[in-house]
């Protein structure tokens, strides 16, 4: 029995909404903070708005098989518009509210949207400006009338006006809504989710109700959510992750979705709600961690003392749990005390008092940040997946969480690694194909297996480890694959490492050039009474080399034997965007750096224990200075030197 069967005949979003409005009409479905107060919508309100808006769309002439584009911040009207469109037999297409005009125009035109629902003046202006290039758009619906009072345009109409038309149609044809809902099939196209291609135009992944709800139920089976749970929706609803939580899961399970007042108030609003379920990308967890650390530095000495006393206890317990080792009695008692002394208050501050399910996905999260949340008892899990598999294929299980893996497949999902090292997955939630792009579909799904374009491997215990995008993976001279970015990221998780460049493409072994973090290493040096003058001087100290060697060793331990760092140097200057060594978004420009530091690299692959450097660097104000120094090359025991 597939997990989808547990929903019975209520197998589309509109049907689930009708079911929830019938079974729990007075429970809160949506909440939005407005005018400083949380305004609630019960399931009955939610249903009535969707019915009115949906019939209004029918009155405007929306036909089954057409599409509705939605652009705006996370608001109740956003999700209502989506379900209303689906009840008309139309698919919903979410747009990112911060996309540029060219992308907006491309997506609206490519998806053949006949109705666009735009939140406010900002979005309406965008659409109206583009309207000449969008002949297929018949109506532009806005939800927030502010600033739009004076607009006169024959295609422009307000959300409430559409609802009024819907109510009129409902009195005219009373059975129409029920008939429309009943007509929906589980195999119908529900949403088209456009993914930002790194090259070329975005591609629209078509997902059916069976894709979306199947995924929601399979995820639910291993990461339980309950009716009445609270969830805060603050990531773009156009993104599959937010669709999975705020729509498919919320409708299938019946939990409450809360919309923050403004983007700026999100953290505050999360605390007010105290959600049971959270899903956010790494940058959210990272910024939360650093906020706490900064605030602790500024707080009263007593609070700082408590933090520094309790945090290591929490970390120790978290580490033992990661390693699946028993926690000694003494530590259990200490952890209890630490809970009352620190973690309880800290969790309250962050809004995590009731948290039961917390997950992160989309990119790598540092073990330090990961451990921070586990220390306070928030069992953060990694997830992995693509839009094309309705969001998720793998997640950590409660009892088996490791910071460097992304867990094991959810039910009804298979994951394997192709001969090229690519992660392939197969499940009932694999998408229907790209909209109007069968060539791309054929390339992505081969014999039912979804090709992710990610390189990865399965650890001995069956957990999936994601390395990098396949196209960024490099090969050693003997053919061993490695991902420089994967290793660099792990090196950069160390507070002492500011930048890292891993080299080894078509070379016998891996080496690394590291830039120390002047602030952190400088503090460390002061504490250990090591005197230094400049960055160049500090990074040539043998003690600093010893410090960094320990960090590199730690990273090496987690790497496969064949792809460990064999030697490293500490560069005499920081990599700098002004020197064209980094892009403006602080990504290493690999080719340029390898050319510029050719001398250093040849020393890394030579036998000499050091290399003499004589170079000039240019400062921001145009001045130049000459640097003459000797760079040590540190050899590591763990790496293989062929």
């Amino acid at each position: 029995m597939s997990s989808l069967d547990r929903l019975g005949h209520d197998d589309t979003f509109p049907k689930l909404l009708v079911r929830n409005a019938r079974t729990m009409p007075d429970k809160v479905a949506l909440r939005e903070k407005e005018f400083g107060i949380w305004q609630s919508f019960t399931w009955r309100d939610y249903h009535d708005h969707v019915r009115d808006f949906s019939l209004g769309l029918v009155a405007l002439g929306l036909k089954p098989g057409e599409n509705v584009a939605i652009i705006g911040e996370n608001r109740p009207e956003w999700v209502m518009s989506e379900i209303a469109a689906q009840a008309c037999g139309a698919a919903s297409v979410g747009l990112y509210q911060d996309s540029n005009l060219a992308d907006v125009a491309f997506v609206i035109d490519h998806c053949d949207a006949s109705v666009v629902v735009a939140e406010d003046q900002e979005q309406v202006d965008k659409i109206l400006d583009l309207l000449e290039k969008l002949p297929k758009v018949r109506w532009v619906v806005f939800t927030d009338p502010r600033g739009l009072r004076k607009y006169q345009h024959e295609k422009l109409i307000s959300f409430t006006d559409v609802e009024a038309r819907g109510r009129a149609l409902d009195t005219e044809q009373p059975g129409l809504w029920d008939a429309n809902v009943a007509r929906g099939k589980v195999s119908d196209l529900a949403i088209i989710s456009y993914t930002s291609g790194t090259t070329g135009f975005p591609k629209g992944a078509m997902l059916s109700f069976s894709n979306l709800l199947g995924m929601a139920m399979n995820l639910h089976a291993v990461d339980e959510k309950r009716p009445g749970d609270e969830f805060v929706s603050f990531l773009p609803l156009a993104w599959i992750g937010e669709q999975m939580m705020s729509l498919s899961s919320a409708l299938a399970i019946g939990f409450t979705v809360n919309f923050p007042e403004e983007t700026e108030t999100t953290a505050e609003n999360i605390r007010e709600i105290g959600p049971h379920v959270m899903f956010a990308p790494p940058r959210f967890w990272e910024s939360m961690t650093s906020t706490v650390q900064v605030k602790i530095m500024d707080t009263t000495p007593f609070k700082r003392f408590m933090f520094n006393l309790c945090m290591p206890i929490g970390r120790k317990v978290a580490d033992l749990r990661f390693e699946k080792k028993p926690i000694p009695f003494r530590l259990r008692v200490l952890y209890r005390l630490a809970y009352w002394g620190l973690f309880r208050a800290l969790r309250d501050r962050l809004g995590f008092t009731y948290i039961r399910s917390a997950s992160t996905g989309g990119a790598a999260l540092g073990p330090d940040v990961f451990g921070f949340f586990h220390a306070m008892g928030v069992r953060l899990k990694q997830i992995y997946g693509q839009t094309e598999i309705s969001g998720i294929s793998c997640i950590h299980r409660d009892e088996d969480i490791q910071s460097h893996t992304v867990g094991i497949p959810i039910p009804e999902t298979e994951v394997r690694i192709s001969a090229d090292g690519e992660i392939l997955s197969r499940s009932p939630s694999v998408f229907m194909g790209y909209y109007k792009n069968p060539e791309a579909t054929a390339k992505t799904v081969v014999d039912g297996w979804l090709h992710s374009g990610d390189a990865g491997y399965l650890a001995p215990d069956g957990q999936l480890v994601v390395i990098d995008r396949l196209k960024d993976v490099m090969k050693l001279a003997d053919g061993t694959q490695f991902s420089p970015q994967f290793i660099e990221n792990r090196l950069k998780f160390s507070p002492y490492v500011k930048e890292a460049v891993v080299i080894g493409h078509h070379r016998p072994f891996l080496t690394a050039m590291l830039c120390i973090d002047m602030g952190v290493v400088g503090k460390w040096a002061e504490k250990n009474r090591i005197s230094y003058t400049t960055y160049t001087d500090l990074s040539s100290k043998p003690q600093v080399y010893d410090l960094l060697q320990r960090e590199v060793d730690l990273v090496n331990e987690k790497l496969p034997d064949a792809a460990r760092i064999a030697k490293f140097v500490l560069l005499y200057k920081e990599l700098d965007a002004d020197d064209e060594e980094l892009t403006r978004t602080r990504k290493v420009r690999r080719g340029f750096v390898e050319e510029r530091y050719a001398e250093v690299i040849s020393a890394l692959y030579g036998e000499a224990p050091e290399v003499a450097i004589d170079t000039t660097i240019k400062f921001q104000d145009g001045k130049t200075t000459r640097i003459r120094t000797t760079l040590l090359v540190r050899k590591l025991s763990m790496g293989k030197v062929a």
């Binding site: 005018f35 400083g36 009072r149 403004e262 700026e264 108030t265």
Partner: protein, 256 residues
């Protein structure tokens, strides 16, 4: 809406304003410009009631308000912001705005002290009005922040909010964009326009940024050494020889 007739204001022997007359039409954005020391702020002070002009009269909606106290004028629907921010720095944004509502408070010490009943109902009404302004000016995220800790541009916005909390029909703004960066100016300009368009408030503002004045205002009055030298739509004023002279020097120098 506002009719200023023959205002003469002097401080002992120094003439600040000599015979200034002009009218502000309902729902207009009316700008007062002029070089430093031209008497712009003095004029605003006369309208809000801080200064009493020696001669002339000021009519608001047909009523002569020349003899009224500043607080009486506020009750009639005139609110203002100041060149230098005048907020309670130690209080939260919300409290500052609620103070703006104080003039409209009907509950007395007794009713307010007992709170339940009329006092509570009135409190909720005021809070709802203030929340509407918070939403309008997009300052939800600083609702409970202490004003003194906010950035300058935000404090300016809070001051505008405080003035709006008085529910004025005529809003006097004294250099609302002074000391702001380009982005903050853009925001402020948007809020000024929306205040006029959405809330129907008439705006009389002093502003130095010519770009802002020309873009926003429907009417411009130019002062120089206490005298009105031009009055009219921005394009007209911009072309006036007297204005160019006041700002740039002799016209002959300009053409030379």
């Amino acid at each position: 809406m506002l009719d200023v007739r023959g205002i003469i204001l002097h401080f002992r022997g120094v003439a600040a304003l000599s015979d200034v007359s002009f009218k502000v039409r309902p729902r207009a954005i009316h700008a007062i410009i002029g070089p430093n020391g031209a008497g712009k702020t003095s004029l605003l002070n006369c309208i809000s009631g801080v200064y009493r002009p020696q001669h002339g009269s000021i009519h608001f909606d047909g009523q002569d308000i020349s003899r009224l106290s500043p607080s009486a004028r506020t009750k009639l629907g005139i609110a203002r912001t100041f060149q230098n921010i005048a907020l309670f720095k130690g209080m939260s944004v919300l409290d500052n705005l609620l103070i703006g509502r104080h003039v409209h408070q009907k509950t007395g010490v007794l009713g307010g002290g007992i709170y339940w009943g009329f006092g509570q109902r009135e409190e909720i009404e005021h809070r709802a009005l203030v929340e509407d302004i918070i939403d309008f000016l997009e300052i939800q995220h600083i609702r409970k922040k202490v004003v003194g800790t906010l950035a300058y541009g935000l404090q300016k916005r809070v001051e505008l909010a405080r003035a709006l909390a008085l529910a004025p029909r005529l809003l006097l703004l004294d250099e609302p964009m002074a000391g702001m960066n380009a982005e903050e100016k853009e925001d402020m300009a948007r809020f000024v326009v929306e205040t006029a368009e959405e809330r129907g408030t008439t705006i009389l503002m002093i502003e130095h940024d010519m770009g802002v004045v020309m873009d926003l205002s429907s009417q411009v009055t130019v002062l120089n050494f206490g005298e009105k030298i031009a009055d009219g739509p921005p394009e007209e004023v911009q072309g006036s020889a007297a204005v160019q002279e006041a700002y740039l020097g002799e016209p002959s120098e300009l053409s030379a």
